[in-house]
């Protein structure tokens, strides 16, 4: 068995470990509700449906898929990643795993990949349920050919908060603190963004708008929307959806900006966590 097998063993172990925690089951339950209930509720409101532009309902899955990114996907990434390392210290299980002749890097990589694979699984379930619900509620859906790319774009965008939360879990080695600080960054970023947008609107000073670019929620939320706007054009329905998404979701000036910022945040998070993990002592049991 090579190192890849050992990494894969830890990845599988991490998935198993995370699934055994109740919070993942709760996330899955919320995913199901979020992806079914809005469509079911909307389908009963005939007055709203009649008011929509013709054709919008055939592309409504796009709104459902993108709507989950700003809050649900980022927060799910935090919930999975913040506990990946820290919970092992708290439970004292890291000690036994790392007393074996394995490279710390393999353990680290396995935990990261395992957690992220679990996240991808939840994302896949979410997107599938969204589209299925849209189909069940409003009939045949169009534009599904971009769905696979959407999946990877949303996964990539979520990598930002996943890496930050993973880093905080390793640095703090206490899951509660890691959850609190990751969430704090997340919500603070949302709130600061709103304030900066408000001040920018009032003053017209570009500085306030520039600040918004560098907040972690901005690239994570912008990238999927920017992609949607670039690829959804041609019909009135799609134009309406694109405008709606563009007005509410996109902060970054370009896709390149979004990609670079996501990469900077994610790589920095992973690098800091890896450096600390490779140097720091392995705690016995953090209580």
């Amino acid at each position: 068995m090579g190192r890849a097998d050992v990494v894969f063993t830890f990845a599988r172990y991490e998935i198993r470990r995370a699934v055994a925690r109740r919070k993942v089951l709760i996330i899955i339950a919320i995913t199901v509700l979020l992806d079914i209930l809005p469509y079911a509720a909307l389908s009963t409101r005939q007055s709203v449906i009649r008011a929509l532009e013709p054709g919008v309902l055939q592309y409504i899955w796009i709104i459902g898929v993108l709507a989950i990114q700003p809050l649900f996907l980022n927060f799910t990434a935090i919930l999975i990643a913040a506990g990946a390392m820290s919970e092992e210290y708290e439970q004292g299980t890291a000690e036994l795993l790392l007393s074996k002749p394995v490279k710390r890097g393999d353990y680290f990589l396995g935990k990261f990949l395992g957690g992220f694979m679990l996240f991808l699984g939840i994302l896949l379930v979410s997107i599938t349920l969204n589209v299925a619900s849209a189909y069940a509620a409003f009939g045949t859906q169009y534009g599904l050919s971009i769905l696979p790319r959407f999946f990877f774009i949303q996964a990539f965008s979520s990598l930002l908060f996943f890496s930050l939360a993973f880093m905080l879990g390793e640095l703090m080695r206490r899951s509660s603190l890691a959850y609190i600080f990751s969430s704090l960054i997340f919500f603070a970023s949302i709130v600061i963004n709103i304030y900066m947008e408000f001040v920018y609107t009032l003053t017209g000073d570009a500085f306030y708008n520039t600040v918004r670019y560098y907040l972690p929620t901005s690239p994570a939320d912008s990238f999927p929307v920017q992609y949607a706007m670039q690829n959804l054009h041609g019909t009135t329905a799609l134009r309406i959806i694109a405008e709606l998404l563009g007005e509410t979701g996109s902060v970054e000036p370009s896709i390149v900006y979004s990609i670079v910022l996501i990469l900077i945040y994610a790589v920095a998070g992973i690098a800091i966590a890896a450096s600390y993990f490779s140097y720091a002592d392995i705690s016995k049991k953090v209580t």
């Binding site: 090579g2 172990y13 299980t93 790392l98 007393s99 394995v102 002592d281 049991k285």
Partner: protein
């Protein structure tokens, strides 16, 4: 020399045997507390009992040995390899059973063993790996519970599983941190035999921390006593006892021990104290001539018309030596004399 305490004895030299574990002036500085410098060498085939009170530094030493903690100064080596920078190479064929193991409660014993099998990159077909897992489950007496979640197992069973995972593959060095905690007497006897066979049949080395002196005395070929982060004694069990204790204890069970017999016993040269312990007597003998004193006492009782049932050297001398060593170290270091639970 440190504080007038009998100093650590060098690692006993066994011709042809190399040190497989070496602590060289290893120090771990926690800021408020400092463990070390620890100088300790363990040779192949040795079964070392690592003794010390709570907080003395046993677990820290074990964790430095496993590369989980970095030394603040000095070095720790396993077969000349640094367990931190060369973790995977150094820890190959080293197995560890932690104190009060925190095993994954959501897995079954079989799954934990499978996980460790993968971690160890054990070679062989899945059938051969399955056989290996079955072998250690049998050794640990856990075959019946192989597919029960760890969270539902008793403390003793979890301890058995902890030892079982350490026996997977072909370890050459067993590092055991309080391996007998939580085990029933049958389990203790069983694992004592398992460890004995590990050494006698496999030529392995055991580094075992324990608070159960009788266990250490019966299983270990040598001991090291650590106190306040420093090794006080190190050597074969007999030698440590001799060096730590300048007296021996004779246990006597007899009838017809009158005050006159007691008086005569007390007047035997080297006898410094005779105390009653239940139905028996403990006779403290200064120096190392307890055999002669034993013969004198036996002769005295028979001459005085008493009935002699048992007269032997006390078999818990390691415990006494250990307590004596700690008291002496506390005395010389100016610490408040300790009250060791259960020792009065």
């Amino acid at each position: 020399m440190q504080s007038g305490v009998v100093q650590g004895i060098d690692s006993p030299s066994i011709p042809g045997h190399k040190s497989v574990i070496a602590f060289n002036e290893a120090v771990k500085d926690y800021g408020r507390k400092r463990i070390g410098p620890v100088d300790l060498k363990i040779q192949k085939g040795e079964v070392l009992g690592f003794l010390g009170p709570n907080g003395s530094g046993k677990t820290t030493c074990i964790r430095m040995l496993l590369g989980l903690l970095r030394t603040s100064s000095g070095t720790v080596r396993i077969r000349d390899l640094d367990p931190v920078s060369k973790h995977a190479q150094a820890l190959r064929n080293v197995a560890y059973s932690p104190e009060l193991p925190n095993l994954q409660t959501f897995l079954t014993p079989r799954e934990i063993l499978q996980l460790v099998t993968h971690e160890l990159s054990l070679k062989g077909s899945s059938g051969e790996k399955g056989d290996e897992i079955k072998r250690v489950l049998e050794i640990a007496g856990l075959l019946e519970y192989a597919d029960t979640k760890v969270g539902k197992l008793s403390k003793g069973m979890v301890q058995r599983l902890s030892v079982a995972q350490a026996l997977l593959g072909t370890p050459e060095i067993l590092v055991l941190d309080e391996p007998m905690i939580g085990l029933d007497p049958a389990g203790v006897a069983h694992f004592r035999e398992v460890f004995r066979r590990f050494v006698s049949e496999g030529g392995g080395t055991v580094f075992m921390s324990s608070h159960i002196m009788s266990e250490v005395e019966s299983l270990c070929t040598s001991v090291a006593i650590i106190h306040n982060g420093k090794i006080l004694f190190r050597g074969p069990v007999d030698k440590v006892i001799r060096d730590a204790l300048d007296y021996s204890i004779i246990v006597l069970e007899a009838e017809g021990i009158t005050s006159e017999v007691l008086e005569k016993m007390n007047s035997i040269p080297s006898v410094t104290e005779v105390t009653t312990v239940g139905n028996a007597f403990e006779i403290k003998v200064q120096g190392s001539n307890s055999d002669e004193v034993r013969a004198s006492i036996a002769g005295l009782i028979i001459r005085m018309g008493g009935k002699l049932y048992t007269i032997k050297r006390a078999d818990n001398l390691l415990e006494r030596a250990y307590i004596e060593a700690l008291k002496r170290d506390d005395h010389f270091s100016g610490a408040t004399p300790r009250q060791i639970p259960g020792t009065g």
